[in-house]
C-alpha cells in the first residue's frame, strides 16, 4: 500500500502537535484499516472452520493427496485414475490454459483481420465483417458453444464411416480428428536443437537488419531468411538424420480408433466458440484503435510514397496498438474466464474436473472453490502483467 503524502516542505511553520500531522495521520489510518481487514479475514476463517466442523463436514487440504479414482478424457500431463486429486487439479489447469492460449491466438488473428476488414473500401468485405461482428457479439456464448458442439457432432460421421485423409493416416469422425503420433527416436534432439538455433540466429539477424536499415536505409529480406532458418534448415537436418521419428498410425479396432493422437470434438467446439466469439469483440477494438489514429498520419504516409499496405503496417497499426492493447487485455481475460463454460460441451477444464468432479467426490466444496477462484485470479493477473509490459513497449516514446 502506498501512503498518500502531502508535500510538507520545509517552508511550513512548525506544527502544533503530531496529532495534526497529515503524514502521521495517514499512517495511523492505514494501519487501522489493515488491522481491521486482518481481523475480518481471521474471524471469517475461524468461523468457517468452526461451522464446517459443527456441520460434520470434512475440512482441510489433505484430500489433495488422496487417490482420485476417476478418469479424465483429455490430459496434457500423465494422469490415471490412480493419480491424486492434486494431479487431477493440474490436468484441469493445463487443459484450461491450453484452450485459453490457443483461443487467444486465433481470436487475435481473426479479430485483427475482421477489424481491418470493417474499414475496408470494398462494400462486400465491409458488410460481411459487420454482419460477423453484430451476430457473434449478440448471441450468448453458451448458446454458441452448444451450437458448435452440435454442429461439429452432427456434421461428422460415426467412426466406421470416418472421413479419411492423407492416404488413410488421418481420420475425421464424431470422436474427433485422429492423427498419427510421432514418437521421437535417438537423434530427434539434434532436430529440436536445429530449430532452437534457427530461431536464435534469426533473432540476431533481425536485429542486425533493423540496425542496418536505420543507418543506411537498405532493406534486408528478414522474413524470408528467418523462415529459411527456422523451417528450411531444420527440414534439411531432419532428412539428413533420416527422419528420427516413428509414426504410430491410428487403426480402427472395435468401436474406436486406437493409436495416434485425437483432437476431441469437445475441444474443437470450445475452441471454435471461444475464438469466434472473442474475435468479434477484438475486431471492434481494432477498428476503434485504427480510427483513433488521425487521418493526417495516413495522408502524410501516402505523400511520402508509402503504399496502403505498408502504411497500415508501419504507420497506422503501431500507433493504433496503443489504443488497442488495454481493451484487448480485457478480452484475453474474458476468453480465459469464459473457458469455464467448457463443462457444457464436456471439455475437461479446471471447473469441470476440479470444481465439478473433485468437489463432488470429496465433498470439500469450500476448499475446492477457493482454489479455483485463486487460479482464475492468478491467471488474470499474469495475463494483465504481461499485457502491461507489452503495452509499455509499444507506448509512444516521446522524443
Amino acid at each position: 500500500m502506498t501512503i498518500a503524502t502531502i508535500d510538507s516542505s520545509a517552508s511550513q511553520p512548525a506544527r502544533a502537535s503530531l496529532f495534526y500531522d497529515p503524514v502521521i495521520r495517514g499512517v495511523v489510518f492505514q494501519v487501522l484499516l489493515a488491522l481491521f481487514i486482518i481481523y475480518l479475514v481471521y474471524s471469517g476463517v475461524t468461523n468457517a472452520a468452526n461451522n464446517l466442523a459443527r456441520a460434520g463436514i470434512a475440512t482441510g487440504f489433505g484430500f489433495l493427496n488422496n487417490r482420485a479414482g476417476f478418469d479424465i478424457g483429455q490430459s496434457l500431463i500423465p494422469y490415471t485414475a490412480n493419480s491424486t486429486y492434486r494431479q487431477a487439479f493440474f490436468v484441469g489447469l493445463t487443459n484450461t490454459i491450453f484452450v485459453a492460449a490457443i483461443g487467444i491466438f486465433f481470436a487475435t488473428i481473426l479479430g485483427f483481420i475482421v477489424g481491418i476488414a470493417r474499414l475496408s473500401k470494398n462494400f462486400l468485405v465491409r458488410k460481411v465483417a459487420e454482419v460477423y461482428v453484430e451476430t457473434l457479439r449478440n448471441i450468448p456464448l453458451l448458446l454458441q458453444l452448444l451450437f458448435w458442439y452440435k454442429a461439429v457432432l452432427s456434421a461428422l460421421p460415426a467412426p466406421r464411416g470416418s472421413i479419411e485423409m492423407f492416404n488413410s493416416s488421418v481420420f475425421l469422425n464424431n470422436r474427433g480428428l485422429i492423427m498419427p503420433q510421432y514418437l521421437a527416436e535417438a537423434g530427434a534432439s539434434i532436430f529440436y536443437a536445429s530449430i532452437a538455433i534457427g530461431i536464435a540466429v534469426a533473432v540476431v539477424i533481425a536485429r542486425w537488419a533493423k540496425k542496418r536499415q536505420m543507418a543506411t536505409g537498405q532493406i534486408f529480406p528478414t522474413i524470408r531468411v528467418a523462415l529459411g532458418l527456422i523451417i528450411g534448415v531444420p527440414l534439411v537436418v531432419l532428412f539428413v538424420l533420416g527422419v528420427p521419428f516413428t509414426a504410430e498410425y491410428p487403426e480402427l479396432s472395435g468401436f474406436n480408433f486406437r493409436g495416434g493422437t485425437t483432437i476431441r470434438p469437445e475441444f474443437m467446439a470450445l475452441l471454435l466458440g471461444l475464438s469466434l466469439y472473442t474475435a468479434a469483440f477484438i475486431a471492434e477494438i481494432v477498428r476503434a484503435g485504427i480510427l483513433a489514429v488521425s487521418k493526417g498520419q495516413t495522408e502524410a504516409a501516402f505523400s511520402l510514397g508509402l503504399r496502403p499496405n505498408t502504411t497500415m503496417r508501419l504507420v497506422i497499426i503501431p500507433q493504433a496498438l496503443r489504443v488497442i492493447i488495454p481493451p484487448l487485455t480485457s478480452q484475453y481475460l474474458n476468453l480465459t474466464k469464459n473457458s469455464s463454460l467448457a463443462i457444457a460441451v464436456g471439455y475437461p477444464d479446471l471447473v469441470s474436473v476440479f470444481s465439478g468432479t473433485v468437489a463432488n467426490q470429496t465433498g470439500q466444496a469450500v476448499e475446492v472453490i477457493s482454489i479455483t477462484m485463486i487460479v482464475y485470479l492468478t491467471l488474470s493477473l499474469l495475463t494483465s502483467a504481461f499485457m502491461n509490459w507489452f503495452n509499455s513497449r509499444v507506448a509512444l516514446v516521446e522524443r
Binding site: N47, I57, G69, N360, Q361, G363
Partner: protein, 339 residues
C-alpha cells in the same frame, strides 16, 4: 497473499453455510414457512420429473410428498429444487433444501464426511450400461475401447473407472454435468455407451429418439442403494424422515393401502391400530400427530403403491420389484416395527 484471499473466500462461503447447519429445528422452520423444500433431479422419469401439467411426479418426489402429508396433511406442501449431481450436496449442506431426495447413492464417504445423514434405501439399484442395438454387444465385457458418456459428480464416474480397469479394458470418458447434455451426446452418437444406475437407464432410454434401438446390458457393476438424505445435526428431522420411509414400507407389510384405508382404520389388529394412531402416541413422540401414517397412506399410498405407480407395472418403466420387494417376498424392503 494467496493464503489471505483463500481464507477470505473460504470464510465468506462458510459464513452462510454454518448459520444453517447450526440450527437444529428444521421441523419448526418447515412448519413456519408452510412447505418442505425438497431437492430432486432435473428430470429423471420415474424418480423425479415434471409431467405434462408441470406437476412433479416420481418415487423420489413421492417421498417428499409423504413427508408433507405427515406434517401438513397436504402432499402439495412441497417445493422442489431441481439439482444436478454436482449441486445436490452443497444445496443440502447450505440449507437451501430441507431434504435431498434425488436418486442419490448411500455411500460411506457421503454419510461420514459431508455432514449428511442417509434416511434409508427407497430403491436398491446397481449401475448398468446401455448401448445402441446395432453394435451387437451383449456383454459389458465386450466394451473395451468404447467411448462412454457419463455424468460428473456421481458414483457412476468412479464405478466405471474401477470396472474397466479391473477387467483390463480401455475406454474414453465423455463427461458432462447436466443430464440433458449427456443424453444429447449419446443421442448424437458421440459415445458408444451410456452408463448410470440401471433404473436411470430405463428412464433415459424412453426419452431417446428411438428407444427400441438401444439395449441395456445384463451386467450390474455396482451396488447403488438410492435414498433420501437430510442435514446432520437435527435428530428430530432425521427421525421424521426415517419414519416416513419405514411407515411407507410397514404400511405395505400390514396390507394397509390407500384403497382399504377406511376399513383398516376400523381394524382390531393391534399392529394396525398402533400404526394408524389408534393406540399410543407414536406420532406425537416424533413431533407430529398420531395419525401421521394415515395421512401418508391416504395421500400417497404405501411403498408398493408408490413403487408400482412410478417405476413399476403401472408406469412406462416397467421395473420389477426385485430387491425392492418386501422382505417377506424375497426382497430387501423391511419396515421397522411401530411399537
Amino acid at each position: 497473499m494467496t493464503k489471505i484471499i483463500l481464507s477470505a473466500v473460504a470464510g465468506a462461503a462458510a459464513l452462510t453455510l454454518g448459520a444453517h447447519a447450526a440450527s437444529a429445528q428444521t421441523l419448526e422452520a418447515v412448519k413456519a414457512k408452510g412447505y418442505i423444500q425438497c431437492g430432486v433431479s432435473t428430470g429423471l422419469a420415474g424418480f423425479s420429473n415434471t409431467d405434462d401439467a408441470g406437476e412433479w411426479t416420481g418415487l423420489d418426489v413421492d417421498f417428499c410428498r409423504a413427508m408433507a402429508a405427515a406434517i401438513f396433511d397436504d402432499p402439495e406442501a412441497v417445493r422442489f429444487s431441481p439439482l444436478s449431481a454436482v449441486e445436490r450436496f452443497t444445496a443440502l449442506q447450505s440449507g437451501e433444501i430441507d431434504v435431498l431426495s434425488r436418486n442419490t447413492t448411500w455411500t460411506m464417504s457421503r454419510d461420514t464426511a459431508l455432514g449428511l445423514n442417509f434416511v434409508g434405501v427407497t430403491f436398491y439399484d446397481g449401475q448398468g450400461f446401455m448401448v445402441p442395438a446395432e453394435l451387437n454387444v451383449d456383454s459389458a465385457l465386450q466394451l473395451s475401447g468404447a467411448s462412454v458418456c457419463v455424468q460428473s459428480g456421481t458414483t457412476t464416474e468412479l464405478n466405471l473407472t474401477d470396472y474397466f480397469s479391473a477387467n483390463n479394458m480401455e475406454y474414453n470418458p465423455v463427461v458432462f454435468e447436466g443430464l440433458e447434455e449427456v443424453n444429447a451426446a449419446y443421442n448424437a452418437g458421440r459415445c458408444d455407451v451410456y452408463t448410470t444406475d440401471s433404473s436411470g437407464l430405463y428412464a433415459i432410454r424412453l426419452t431417446l429418439d428411438n428407444p427400441d434401438d438401444h439395449v441395456v446390458l445384463p451386467e450390474l457393476i455396482s451396488k447403488e442403494p438410492l435414498g433420501p438424505a437430510v442435514r446432520r445435526g437435527d435428530d428430530q428431522w432425521f427421525g421424521i424422515a426415517k419414519w416416513v420411509y419405514y411407515g411407507l414400507v410397514y404400511a405395505e407389510e400390514l396390507g394397509i393401502s390407500s384403497e382399504n384405508l377406511e376399513e383398516m382404520l376400523a381394524s382390531e389388529n393391534p399392529d394396525v391400530r398402533r400404526a394408524l394412531g389408534g393406540d399410543g402416541t407414536f406420532g406425537a413422540d416424533m413431533g407430529l400427530e398420531n395419525d401421521w401414517l394415515v395421512k401418508i397412506v391416504r395421500h400417497v399410498g404405501n411403498y408398493g403403491e408408490v413403487f408400482e405407480r412410478n417405476v413399476g407395472a403401472d408406469s412406462p418403466l416397467q421395473i420389477e420389484r426385485g430387491l425392492n420387494a418386501l422382505y417377506t417376498d424375497g426382497g430387501l424392503q423391511y419396515g421397522m416395527p411401530i411399537r
